[in-house]
């Protein structure tokens, strides 16, 4: 009897294992890639016009919102273009052309008036939503109004329109006619929009690339619940089974006309986004070929990074682009008021050690200026605080300390995001380096989620706790000097809480140059102004650049039309297809 029992158990276990094994495979990789390391950063990889198949994405954290009018995550801006067409778009080409603008819904690029306070744009005729109804100019006007003038109902997206449109207070969710009194955007006919701005804004077309220009008919808007089923204007639409935090599957929108869309080849038949997958699991599945793209787009995690870099066979599947982000340390001007004291810090830090804290070579390059390399006007060679091997110039630091009357050094507090290991290590490096000139740094960790809302970005908290330094990272809303640095260096951007100009830099000369830039039409001239601003910010020693971030991205051989898009700081998702043969 006993033998029979054990036999049964053994048989069951074997059957179980066999049944399981039949369903899964951990193989992947296959033969060595014909592509080169980092090829996708500047070139088109695996070009193909093959259609069909399912393009599979996975991500760990959910959208802030699946509503194009209410999102501010970089990957979300990229991904949601599958179902949300915008007035303008970045050019779907690799290299420098990627950051140039082109029409999407628009018929042509917008026309400004002489002082850039009025912009006129026409949209194509015959564009359709997924229900077959026509897209008209008023839908775009309403989409912009609801995303920026909503009484705080939709608060997650950027607020460039509310900041620049010449519009009195307005709330689309009050009153019977949501657009009554909303005159800053005119729609003289169904296909024309005229934007009236309160100030000159030469970079306004960049704002028109944002998802908030994706059309929304008034009757389709359900406020915060619109995200449950967005009315698609793009090549794909929700398949009706969107589960926040779990999955979003997109199927073809048969009313989308490819002839009207120069941005989206829409190669796959289906796009699937799996949400809530652990990062290590995503990395593993990416390499095994179970998913095609990590939707977050910031590259593999630390564990997989070292594995991939050590594996010769996969070098052709790796890209190592600049993310477009700068990791830096704010030197809070209201706490360390004397510029010479701030400059002492700039001289005393050990940049080489901070760079190593960020992962060394694959993690990025040592930054000695403000604007990242992909931004016009950036001069990464510029270094106002040079030192041998980046180890710091202690003599120069000491003389600056004497100049600010602190020859014996001083004490201050460095705020750091607790969950960010690289920042914590960078903070340790700063502490050690500044101790060499008797600047005593007390490191305080705060929760990432509230870092700017309640701690380093709260003016009261900074003053009450003598926070002289804080570590941050910043990426551009669009790849220009203004899109990158205005929010962190313009005096007008200083907020009581949620303050991203965390150093509270408010320099009249810098502020004036920002205003000049917005009056300048020629991009090259604007770039020259941005370079000036960069230099002035460094002279003010309000921001200490640490690293120009790089990511390490795994690119499957089955993934087609791959190239890096600096505007989104990740691959351009729209041209991607799959070739699994």
């Amino acid at each position: 009897m006993r033998k029979r029992t054990f036999g049964f158990v053994a048989l069951g276990a074997a059957a179980t294992l066999l049944l399981s094994a039949c369903g899964g495979s951990a193989t992947g990789g296959g033969s060595e890639s014909e592509n080169e390391f980092d090829q996708g950063s500047t070139q088109l990889v695996n070009p193909s016009d093959k259609t069909g198949g399912t393009l599979k994405y996975a991500i760990e954290a959910d959208f802030d919102s699946a509503d194009p009018g209410n999102t501010y995550y970089g990957w979300s801006w990229n991904f949601q273009r599958y179902y949300a067409r915008t007035l303008l778009s970045f050019t779907p080409e690799p290299g420098e052309a990627a950051t140039e603008l082109m029409p999407d819904l628009a018929k042509a690029m917008p026309e400004p008036n002489d002082d850039f306070t009025e912009w006129t744009v026409e949209i194509q005729e015959g564009l359709k939503y997924e229900d077959g109804s026509e897209i008209v100019a008023e839908d775009i006007k309403y989409a912009i109004a609801r995303s920026n003038f909503n009484g705080g109902t939709l608060s997650l997206g950027p607020q460039y329109f509310s900041a620049h449109l010449d519009q009195d207070d307005h709330n689309v969710y009050e009153g019977s006619d949501p657009l009554a009194g909303f005159d800053s955007i005119e729609t003289p006919d169904d296909y024309t929009l005229v934007f009236h701005l309160k100030d000159s804004f030469s970079e306004f077309p960049n704002v028109l690339t944002q998802l908030q220009t994706a059309p929304v008919p008034i009757e389709a808007d359900k406020g915060e619940l619109y995200q449950e089923n967005v009315l698609s204007s793009g090549p794909y639409k929700f398949d009706g089974n969107y589960q926040p935090g779990v999955q979003l599957h997109l199927e073809r929108n048969e009313h989308w006309d490819p002839d009207t869309d120069p941005v989206r080849p829409a190669l796959p038949d289906r796009v699937e986004l799996e949400i809530g997958v652990a990062q290590d699991e995503i990395d593993q599945r990416l390499v095994n070929g179970d998913i095609d793209v990590d939707a977050r787009g910031t590259g593999v995690g630390p564990a997989m990074r070292s594995t991939l870099l050590d594996d010769e066979a996969v070098q052709g599947n790796l890209d190592n682009p600049y993310t477009g982000a700068l990791r830096y340390m704010n030197i809070h001007t209201p706490i360390i008021e004397d510029v010479a004291c701030r400059q002492a810090i700039m001289y005393a830090v050990d940049r080489d050690s901070m760079w190593r804290a960020w992962g060394g070579e694959p993690g990025g390059d040592i930054a000695t200026n403000l604007l990242p390399p992909a931004i016009p006007g950036s001069n990464p060679e510029s270094d106002l605080y040079p030192s041998e091997d980046g180890k710091g110039d202690l003599d120069a630091a000491q003389s600056k300390l004497e100049a600010c009357g602190e020859e014996d050094g001083f004490s201050t507090t460095l705020a750091v995001r607790a969950e960010n290991d690289n920042e914590v290590q960078t903070a340790e490096s700063v502490k050690e380096a500044l101790a060499r000139v008797n600047i005593d740094v007390n490191i305080e960790s705060y929760p990432t989620a509230d870092f700017f809302g309640q701690y380093a970005g709260s003016q009261d908290f900074v003053r009450e706790n003598d926070i002289g330094l804080s570590l941050s990272g910043w990426g551009p809303d669009w790849p220009s000097g203004y899109g990158f640095a205005s929010k962190i260096t313009h005096g007008d951007a200083i907020m009581e809480t949620g303050n991203f100009n965390t150093s509270e830099l408010d320099d009249p000369e810098i502020n004036g140059l920002w205003d000049d830039a917005l009056l300048t039409e020629d991009p090259d001239e604007r770039a020259a102004i941005y370079e000036q601003i960069d230099t002035l910010v460094m002279e003010n020693a309000a921001i200490l650049p640490v690293v120009f971030d790089k990511s390490l991205i795994y690119r499957s051989d089955e993934l087609t039309n791959v190239f890096y898009q600096p505007a989104f700081m990740m691959y351009d998702l729209m041209p991607l297809g799959v070739d699994r043969d």
Binding site: M1, T16, L17, L19, S20, A21, C22, G23, G24, S25, A26, T27, D62, D64, S65, Y72, R146, N150, G151, G152, T153, S155, L156, G157, P158, Q159, S162, V172, Y173, P178, D221, K222, G223, E224, L225, Y226, Q227, E228, Q243, P244, G245, V246, E274, I275, G276, V277, A278, D280, E281, Q284, R285, N288, D290, A449, D450, G453, Q454, T497, G498, F500
Partner: protein, 337 residues
């Protein structure tokens, strides 16, 4: 018996109110004691570039500036009677039992929990079957073969099971059994109703991993209970009467041993159904546990309250079922009752 069940249900209900009140207190009152203002709380839900207008609108919408007692009563009223919510220009009815809408995603909480519940039920119940059969089985065999190689190996494994956390065994299992050797498929939940075979294949490794943790405890508990019972006089009597060893073990020795096992089983299943947080996270299963941890990270109070309430409901219900099962398992309880 009916009276007993009603009494237990009443006590369970009271417990749920207490659990809700305590959870509410932890997440609503404690932050205020720490100096967080209603505006500070609202700032967590208004994104990257909050305007004062958006923050105030969020305070008003979520009622964060109301006295705590008012907020709590409002929560209970919404739960019991339902409520209408306004989104944009639209009014939406949230029928009772209404857990409200997520602060961070604006999704209705109860449907979100119910969507995730099949994942958690699949995980919890499947693992429970394995850990009960495996744990009790190993415990019985170890007791019968006390001091043998099997006993030592089994108890060694049990010690490892108790000692090793899920995020260790789970990640190890994923690395080797899934990614390295391909013995199990990549975990991507498939509903049972959609494809039972795929469901089974995907869930098997999470079941085994979760069961390994619990089975260890059951094996040790069963072994200890069995050893004690096997030394009882009535077991010697049963053997002396010529009963087969199988009958002695399973009919006379195992049954009394099962009573404490049943007690911990009720608690364990209740807790696992409330969300096996680590297992779900490690295996990327979007169940109630993963939802709970995400909501805690984002301080999404309605979701936290919702999943806590659900967890408490499961524990209360499972314990009630266990209480009702005691007389079935152990006739002595029936006699005492």
């Amino acid at each position: 018996m009916l009276n007993y069940i009603l009494r237990r249900l009443g006590a369970g209900l009271l417990l749920l109110v207490v659990v809700t009140a305590v959870t509410f207190w932890i997440f609503y009152v404690l932050p205020r004691w720490a100096g967080v203002t209603p505006q500070g709380m609202a700032a967590m839900y208004v994104g990257k570039a909050p305007t004062p207008e958006a923050i105030q609108a969020t305070v008003d919408r979520l009622g964060l500036d109301q006295p705590i007692a008012v907020q709590f009563v409002e929560f209970l009223r919404t739960l019991i009677f339902g409520q209408e919510f306004t989104f944009g220009r639209q009014t939406v009815e949230c029928a009772a039992p209404c857990l409200g809408y997520s602060f961070s995603t604006n999704s209705p909480v109860l449907p979100q929990i119910l969507d995730r519940l099949p994942v958690t039920l699949s995980l919890g119940l499947g693992a429970a079957v394995i850990w009960v059969i495996g744990g009790v089985g190993v415990g019985v065999l170890s007791a019968v073969k006390k001091g043998s190689v099997f006993d030592r190996l089994a108890m060694g494994a049990a010690l490892a099971g108790v000692s090793l956390p899920i995020y260790f065994t789970g990640l190890l299992a994923l690395a080797f059994l899934v990614h390295q050797w391909g013995l199990f498929p990549v975990s991507r939940y498939v509903p049972f109703t959609e494809d039972p075979v795929a469901w089974y294949q995907v869930m098997l490794l999470p079941w085994i991993t979760l069961a390994f943790l619990h089975a260890a405890q059951y094996a040790r508990q069963t072994r200890a209970g069995m050893l004690e019972t096997l030394n009882e006089d009535y077991i010697r009597t049963a053997r002396a009467k010529g009963l087969s060893e199988r009958k002695v073990i399973f009919k006379h020795a195992l049954r009394p041993t099962l009573t404490p096992i049943l007690t911990i089983l009720g608690l364990d299943i209740g807790m696992v159904l409330g969300g096996a947080i680590l297992t779900e996270k490690v295996f990327s299963l979007n169940g109630v546990g993963a939802y709970a941890i995400d909501s805690i990270v984002s301080k999404d109070l309605p979701v936290i309250l919702g999943v806590t309430l659900l967890g408490a409901v499961f524990i209360v219900v499972c314990n009630l079922i266990v209480d009702l099962l005691y007389p079935v398992v152990d006739p002595r309880v029936r006699i005492t009752a």
